[in-house]
C-alpha cells in the first residue's frame, strides 16, 4: 500500500470523528483490493459496531489473507458477532458462527444457549452444535496446559459458561435439547454439585439424558469426567455401572492408561466395587483386540475388579494362552494372589513358557504353592540357560543358603551333609566366598570345618588355591586336612604345593602330602603306586 493511502487510513483509524465510519464503509465497497484491504484493516481496528457488522457480512467472501486482517480485531468484534448470531440473516449468522469458532468466543456461549433453546428459531440447531463445539474446546483448554499467550483464564471462562448451562439444565423440560445437557456434563466435572445431584436422583428430568451422555459421548471431557469419578472415593454406583458398561475405544484406551502406577492406586478402590467391564470378558477375541502393552494393562484391570474368582481365572487363562509375553507375565504375577488348583496348573504351564520372564515369575511362586514335584522342577530351573529363571529358582530355594548350611552342618548326618551341601552349592552363589572366608577364620575349628564342607560339596577343584594356601597354616592339623583333601585336585600346581609340603616340619603333614601325591599319580597314570 502506498505511504499516502496508508497515512489516510492511519488518520481514519485514529480519528475520534464518527464520520470516519461511513468513509471506511464506502471504501469497503471499492473494487481496488488495496483500498478494500486498507479499509478492512481500519474498520477492524476501530470500535464501530456498524463497521464490524459490514465486515461480518462480507466474511464468507474474504480471501485467507483478508481473513487474517480480520483476526487482528479479535476481541473488538464481539459486539458485532453477538448481533450477527442473533440475526435472522442466515449468511450473517453462519459467518458469525465461523468467527465464534475461529476466535473461540466463549463469552457468546450463553447467547448461543438461549438461541439453541428457542425452538422457533431457524438457527437453533446450528447454535446447539456450536455450543457443543465451543464447550468441547473449552474443556480441552481447561484440561490441557495453560497457554499464557491467551490472557483469558480457562477456569474463569468455564465457570461463566457452566453457569449458563446450569440454567439451561433447569429449563430442560421446556427446550428438551439433550445436546445442551451433554455440554453441561462435558464442562461440569466431578465437582459440579448439580451434576452430582442429578446422578443421585433417578427422577430428575435430566437424569436419563445425563446418564445417556455419560454412557455414549466420546467427548474427551465426558471420558475425563468418568475417569475422575473413578478416582474419587464414594462415587455412586450409578456412575460405576455406566463405567462398567462403556466399551468404546476412546474410553477403553483412556481407562487402560489409568493402570500406570501413579494413577492406579486411586482407581483400585472403585474398581473393586465393580463386578465387570463390558469389554473385558472371557472371550477368545479379547486378547487379539489389544497390543502387548494393553493386554498386560487389561490383566491388571481385571485383577483389580471385584470379579468372581472363577470368571477371573477364565479371563486370565485366555491371556495366558493367547496373549503376548507382557500379558502372560502379568497373568503370572496376578496368579500370586490366587490360590487353588486351577491357578497352580496355570503356574506349572507357565514354567514351560517361551518367555524367560514368564518362566521366572512362575518359578518364583512354585515353592509357596506347595505343588507336587516343585522341588524337582526348581532344581531343574537352577540349570536354566536364562539368568532370570536361575535367579527365581534360587529365590524359591532361599532356605538352602550357605549361612543356614554352616549353622546346621555339624548336626547333619553324613549323607544329608553331602546332598544338602551340593544343593546349597547350586542355590547360593555366596557359597564359595563364604567358604573362603571361613578358611581365613582365626578359629581352627572353622578352618577345619570349611575343608570338610569343601569335600562334601565337591568343591575341591574349585577351591584348590585356597586349600594350597592352608598348607602353610600355623596349625598342623589344618595342614594335614588340607593336604589330604588336595588329593582330589590333580593339577600341576597342587602337585608342586604337595611336593613342598613334603618338607613340612610336621611328620603328619608330610605323610598326608605323600599320600595325596601318590593318589594323584594313581589318578593320572591309572596305576597303583607304592606311596602311602
Amino acid at each position: 500500500m502506498a505511504a499516502a493511502l496508508e497515512k489516510t487510513y492511519e488518520v481514519l483509524i485514529g480519528s475520534r470523528n464518527e464520520s470516519a465510519g461511513p468513509v471506511l464503509m464506502a471504501a469497503l465497497e471499492s473494487d481496488d483490493s488495496v483500498v478494500f484491504e486498507g479499509a478492512l484493516k481500519a474498520i477492524v481496528a476501530r470500535r464501530s459496531k456498524a463497521g464490524h457488522l459490514a465486515v461480518l457480512e462480507r466474511w464468507h467472501q474474504l480471501s485467507p489473507d483478508q481473513r487474517k486482517l480480520v483476526h487482528e480485531g479479535r476481541g473488538r468484534l464481539s459486539g458485532a458477532i453477538r448481533d450477527s448470531v442473533l440475526s435472522d440473516d442466515t449468511q450473517l449468522f453462519e459467518n458469525a458462527c465461523e468467527l465464534v469458532r475461529e476466535f473461540s468466543e466463549f463469552d457468546l456461549v450463553p447467547t448461543l444457549v438461549t438461541l439453541a433453546e428457542n425452538q422457533k428459531s431457524n438457527h437453533a440447531q446450528a447454535a446447539t452444535e456450536l455450543v457443543l463445539q465451543q464447550v468441547d474446546r473449552l474443556s480441552e483448554m481447561v484440561r490441557g496446559p495453560r497457554d499464557y499467550s491467551d490472557r483469558r483464564d480457562p477456569e474463569s471462562i468455564r465457570r461463566y459458561v457452566l453457569e449458563s448451562l446450569e440454567r439451561s439444565v433447569e429449563r430442560f423440560r421446556s427446550h428438551k435439547r439433550p445436546e445442551l445437557i451433554e455440554a453441561f456434563v462435558v464442562l461440569g466435572g466431578p465437582s459440579c454439585g448439580l451434576l452430582r445431584d442429578i446422578l443421585e436422583d433417578t427422577r430428575h428430568a435430566c437424569y436419563k439424558t445425563v446418564t445417556n451422555t455419560l454412557e455414549t459421548s466420546e467427548s474427551a471431557g465426558v471420558i475425563d469426567l468418568l475417569l475422575s469419578f473413578l478416582k474419587t472415593n464414594g462415587t455412586s454406583l450409578n456412575v460405576l455401572n455406566i463405567i462398567s458398561r462403556r466399551a468404546d475405544k476412546p474410553f477403553v484406551t483412556q481407562l487402560l492408561e489409568c493402570t500406570e502406577d501413579d494413577v492406579f492406586s486411586k482407581i483400585t478402590k472403585n474398581l473393586g466395587r465393580m463386578r465387570s467391564l463390558a469389554w473385558l470378558t472371557p472371550e477368545e477375541s479379547v486378547a487379539a483386540r489389544f497390543d502387548e502393552q494393553d493386554q498386560a494393562r487389561c490383566v491388571k484391570l481385571a485383577v483389580a475388579l471385584g470379579t468372581k474368582q472363577g470368571d477371573l481365572i477364565e479371563l486370565l487363562k485366555i491371556f495366558l494362552e493367547l496373549g503376548e509375553p507382557a500379558s502372560r507375565l502379568a497373568v503370572c504375577e496376578a496368579l500370586i494372589s490366587i490360590p487353588g488348583d486351577q491357578a497352580n496348573r496355570m503356574v506349572l504351564d507357565s514354567i514351560r513358557d517361551n518367555d524367560p520372564l514368564v518362566q521366572a515369575s512362575a518359578t518364583r511362586q512354585l515353592r509357596d504353592r506347595h505343588v507336587p514335584g516343585a522341588m524337582a522342577i526348581l532344581l531343574k530351573q537352577l540349570d536354566s540357560t536364562h539368568g532370570a529363571v536361575q535367579k527365581s529358582a534360587r529365590e524359591a530355594l532361599s532356605e538352602f543358603s550357605f549361612k543356614n548350611f554352616l549353622i546346621s552342618f555339624d548336626s547333619l548326618p553324613e549323607d544329608a551333609r553331602q546332598s544338602t551341601g551340593r544343593l546349597v552349592c547350586k542355590v547360593d552363589p555366596e557359597t564359595v566366598p563364604g567358604l573362603a572366608s571361613e578358611m581365613e577364620s582365626k578359629s581352627r575349628k572353622c578352618r577345619m570345618r570349611a575343608i570338610e564342607m569343601i569335600e562334601v560339596m565337591g568343591l575341591i577343584s574349585a577351591m584348590s588355591k585356597n586349600l594350597v594356601e592352608l598348607l602353610d597354616d600355623e596349625d598342623h592339623l589344618v595342614r594335614v586336612a588340607s593336604a589330604d583333601a588336595l588329593q582330589f585336585s590333580p593339577t600341576a600346581e597342587v602337585q608342586e604345593a604337595l611336593q613342598h609340603a613334603l618338607t613340612d616340619r610336621s611328620g603328619a603333614v608330610q605323610n598326608a602330602a605323600r599320600a595325596s601325591l601318590a593318589s594323584i599319580e594313581e589318578q593320572l597314570t591309572g596305576l597303583p603306586t607304592g606311596g602311602q
Partner: protein, 136 residues
Amino acid sequence: MNSTLYAQNLLAQFSNWERLGDGLHGSRGRANLVEVLPYLIGLALVAAIIFAVVKYIKYNDLSKPCDDPQKLFREISKAHGLDRSSQRLLRQLADALGYVQPAEVFVTPSAFEANQLPEELRDEEARIRELRERLF
C-alpha cells in the same frame, strides 16, 4: 438625662445621615440607559470574543469525539499537508461526484480518473492528477 445627650449627639452628625433614605425613593431608582450602554457593549464584545475563541478552538481541535464530516475532511487534509486551494478542489470533486462524506475522495482513487471527472472540473485536470499522485 441620657436621652438628651443622645439627641444632641445625633443633631451634631446631621450632615452624615441627611441623605440616608435617598436610594429608597421611587423617583431616584430609574437607571439611565445611556450610562449603562458602554458597559453592555463591552460585555457583548467580551462574550463575542470568548465565543469566537471557543469556536476557533473547537474548529481546530481534532481530538474531541464528534460526528463531523467536514472536520474529518480537514483532519485528513492536515495529515497530508494540503493547502486551502487543494482542499477546496477536493471538496468540489466530492460535491460533484455526490459523495455524502467529502473525505470519501481520500479513499476513492477512481474519483481522480480523467475520464470520470465532472464537466466543471475538466479545467482542473492537471491539478487533480497531481493530487492523485500525492494521495495514492
